[in-house]
């Protein structure tokens, strides 16, 4: 399978600060790839390296089969980018910015542009300064999505958008996904968005990857929350490795369980006799939080 982005061991330092510390990132052609990490993890730096705006101090990167630094201009015809912190020229209208950026990229699909403006409920006649944060974001999104490109690099594209517009954004990305030939790298904080849109995801922290894989792969690493009412006393549950935060009270138990301890834990419950059982699947949120707390613990 061909890869739209293939970065290995990227290193980028700013003076004493190491922004990227051996980052690996592989994005397959046609997939929507989530790119997660706390503030300052290096997401934006990584995207700027991929765009050839910054040069990595180490490692290698291929983008759409080319060298992001040397072939920047040629590659940019085939991709569109939504920066994380969007501001535009105060004396140009949103419509002018959309057209200009599209033309600089090599052409705008007029019909698509107009339909996107409608879907995002954007007034293209306002000038740069008159737009709120959310509306500036919409201008950037329309400018990027209106171009017929192979790769979309989106750096927290929904920050500042209201829930309705977030929904519109999701629909558009899902449509792109159905086409099958567009690749999307989506950096985000909004986990429900990543869950809804992404095939695979990469979580980075302090400039290196802590987890990468499909949602299913990553869920496997997380804990399921179980609450049950039992008919009799349960034995040995607390001794099982992989069972956490066990609370037993009045014939009711509640605990979190690692994926690989699920079976013995359930067996123990069944042995005691189950009256009712609620199991909550692992959420990405939990995965995310656990990575950070775990890192904080190791940091301590």
């Amino acid at each position: 399978m061909s890869e739209a982005i293939d970065a290995e061991g990227l290193i980028k330092r700013f003076g004493a600060v190491t922004a990227l510390d051996g980052l690996d990132l592989r994005v397959r052609t046609g997939e929507v790839h989530g790119f997660l990490g706390p503030n300052g993890a290096g997401k934006t730096t990584a995207i700027r390296v991929l765009l050839g705006l910054m040069r990595a101090d180490g490692g290698s990167a291929r983008l759409l089969g080319g060298d992001p630094w040397a072939d920047a201009t040629e590659l940019h015809r085939r991709l569109a980018y939504v920066p994380g912190d969007v501001t535009f020229w105060p004396n140009l209208t949103g419509g002018e910015v959309i057209d200009l950026l599209g033309r600089l990229r090599g052409g705008v699909d007029r019909k698509r542009r107009d339909s996107l403006i409608e879907r995002f409920e954007l007034d293209p006649r306002k000038k740069g300064r008159a737009y709120s944060k959310g509306n500036r974001q919409k201008v950037a999104l329309v400018a990027a999505l209106a171009s017929d490109v192979e790769l979309l690099l989106l750096d927290e594209p929904t920050s500042g958008l209201d829930p309705l517009m977030e929904e519109a954004f999701r629909e558009v990305i899902l449509e792109e996904k159905r086409r099958g030939d567009r690749t999307v790298l989506l950096s985000s904080h909004i986990l429900s968005e990543v869950e809804a849109l992404c095939d695979r995801l990469t979580i980075i922290r302090a400039g290196r990857v802590v987890e990468t894989g499909t949602l299913g792969d990553l869920r496997h690493l997380t804990r399921t929350t179980i609450r049950a009412e039992l008919t009799g006393p349960v034995n040995g549950l607390g001794d099982l490795a992989g069972v956490h935060d066990l609370i037993t009270e009045d014939g009711r138990v509640a605990f979190d369980v690692d994926a690989d301890a699920l079976e013995p834990a359930l067996k123990a419950l069944v042995a005691a006799g189950v009256r009712s059982l609620v199991s909550q699947p692992p959420s990405l949120e939990e995965l995310f939080l656990r990575h950070y707390t775990r890192d904080e613990e190791t940091a301590r």
Binding site: W89, P90, N91, R129
Partner: protein, 523 residues
């Protein structure tokens, strides 16, 4: 006004480097001049001769202002006649930096949401600037009295320095209310300052001759301050007028600020076209949109400057015939033609240094675009960095050419013989380009120091104003590219130095572009 004091501290904290620099740098100039004059003249007679010749030299009067006496004090005041304009520039930039620039960046919103009064930010900016100007005035008084100059005149010159800062702090404060952007506010305030200087210049030169247009000087705060005549008349009337206008402009700014929203302006943004015109499709087309206002402003301003220069040239010619004393001196240098040549070559040199501000400003737009994130949006499309830079450089190089062309043409046409006057203006261009090239080099190779390009312009101005007086070594003078521009009209048109300047400009700019291609962006 609640919170003014803490905001004032913030202003001083943020300007802790720049403010002492301009306060000391400009405030010590009179002391430097006195020292220079002390060594320049061996005898009192020499000084008196120098004063007599200078007071009738239209080029000198254009640059420095009128000279009515021959004491060291009066010569110092006259020779430092350009300093009030520089103080005014520093003051208005400081006020705008702490008002509209903050507001545009959204910092004001943050501050106004805390326990801070409606006027606190404006008050802090104006008070901080006013205090700096006051310190500078005191510095002038102390150093000059220390040099043994009369106390009355020293105090009057200190007041002139302080007031020139105050009145343009007021102008900056009003401009900050009128425009939505800091850039717009700066443009408005600098235009007012430029107009004040040009009006003063026209009136003063006219006063040398037939006096028909002397009233022009009375339209300009710079003109009023020249009419204080420290160490001579010590006339406090014009100083008082300036003080009243300073207070009035600040009051007007405060009033205007109540008539608008935070972040808003008196000149509100209107809706524009929903789609881009067909021509807006390249980095150069974008640069045209971004630079055209500046281009029109500078070209129009320089055309007006040319009108004034050309218009008063008649007075200059008349002057040599009227005043027997002066014409006797000048006939030794070549008569009325030489006087006019000297006048036009001085005004061309002034225009050269002033228009390099435009060149630097236009070239620094690249850095500005980088810092606002606009460059990132453009460079993530199929535009390479050279193409992006070319758009801006076109205006940094050709914009000043247009301005000088406008000035030379209008001055020449009004005077009657456009060729030589236009040639004198255009001859400045290679030196202007050297400063543009230096700015590109800074933007490319040392982006965080890019604003230091302004220091280079200031250095050229200082070399032009102070250098000859202090009799510094030739190599110091040679640092300024303007030293190498041939003195036209009248002098020999030597193309070798001009070619060298163009080569240096190309070398600096080329190195800057290569560095720009090779570095991270944004940094």
């Amino acid at each position: 006004m609640t919170g003014t004091l803490s905001l004032l501290r913030l202003v001083l904290r943020r300007d802790r480097v720049a403010m002492p620099l301009w306060v000391l740098g400009l405030g010590l100039l009179p002391y430097v001049y006195v020292t220079g004059f002390d060594t320049l003249f061996a005898t009192a007679q020499e000084r008196i001769d120098y004063a007599r010749i200078s007071s009738g030299n239209a080029g000198f009067v254009a640059l420095y202002g009128p000279l009515h006496g021959d004491s060291i004090g009066e010569l110092t005041v006259w020779r430092g006649g350009f300093v009030p304009v520089m103080i005014g520039l520093a003051a208005l930039l400081t006020v705008i930096r702490h008002t509209r620039a903050d507001e545009e960046a959204g910092r004001t919103e943050l501050i106004r949401a805390t326990v801070v009064g409606r006027f606190a930010q404006l008050a802090a900016a104006v008070l901080g600037t006013a205090a700096a100007c006051l310190v500078m005035g005191v510095l002038v008084v102390v150093t000059l009295i220390g040099k043994g100059l009369p106390a009355g005149g020293s105090v009057a010159l200190g007041a002139v320095f302080t007031l020139s800062g105050w009145v343009f702090a007021g102008v900056g404060a009003v401009a900050a209310q009128v425009s939505e952007t800091a850039r717009g506010a700066r443009t408005i305030a600098v235009l007012v300052l430029g107009a004040a200087y040009v009006l003063r210049m026209g009136g003063d030169i006219s006063a040398l001759g037939d006096e028909r247009m002397e009233w022009l000087s009375w339209l300009s705060p710079v003109g009023w301050l020249h009419r204080v005549f420290p160490f001579g008349a010590d006339a406090w009337g014009p100083a008082l007028l300036t003080l009243v206008v300073s207070v009035a402009t600040v009051g007007a700014a405060a009033y205007l600020s109540t008539r608008r929203d935070v972040g808003g302006a008196l000149v509100a943004g209107r809706l524009g076209p929903a789609t881009a015109a067909a021509g807006l499709n390249s980095p150069v087309a974008l640069a045209w949109r971004l630079h055209r206002g500046l281009l029109f402003g500078w070209t129009g301003g320089f055309a007006a400057l040319g009108l004034v220069f050309g218009g008063v040239a008649g007075s200059v010619a008349e002057l040599t015939e009227d005043s027997a004393n002066v014409s006797e001196v000048f006939s030794r240098f070549g008569g009325a033609d030489a006087v006019l040549d000297n006048y036009f070559s001085t005004t061309a040199a002034i225009c050269g240094v002033i228009v390099s501000c435009y060149a630097v400003q236009a070239a620094l737009r690249m850095r500005d675009e980088e810092q606002t994130g606009h460059a990132e949006a453009v460079l993530s499309t199929a535009v390479n960095r050279y193409a992006w830079a070319t758009g801006h450089l076109l205006f940094a190089l050709l914009g000043p050419a247009a301005a000088l062309l406008a000035q030379g043409l209008t001055a020449g046409l009004v005077h009657g013989d456009p060729g030589p006057v236009l040639g004198a203006s255009i001859a400045q261009l290679p030196a202007v380009w050297v400063l543009a090239g230096l700015t590109v080099l800074l933007v490319g190779a040392a982006p965080r120091l890019a604003q230091a390009a302004w220091a280079a312009v200031a250095a050229c101005l200082l070399v032009m104003l102070v250098g000859p007086l202090l009799e510094v070594d030739q190599w110091v003078l040679d640092i300024s590219p303007f030293t190498h521009v041939p003195h036209l009209p009248g002098g020999d048109l030597t193309t070798v130095p001009l070619m060298m300047l163009i080569l240096i400009a190309a070398g600096l700019g080329g190195a800057g572009l290569i560095a720009l291609r090779r570095r991270d962006l944004p940094v």
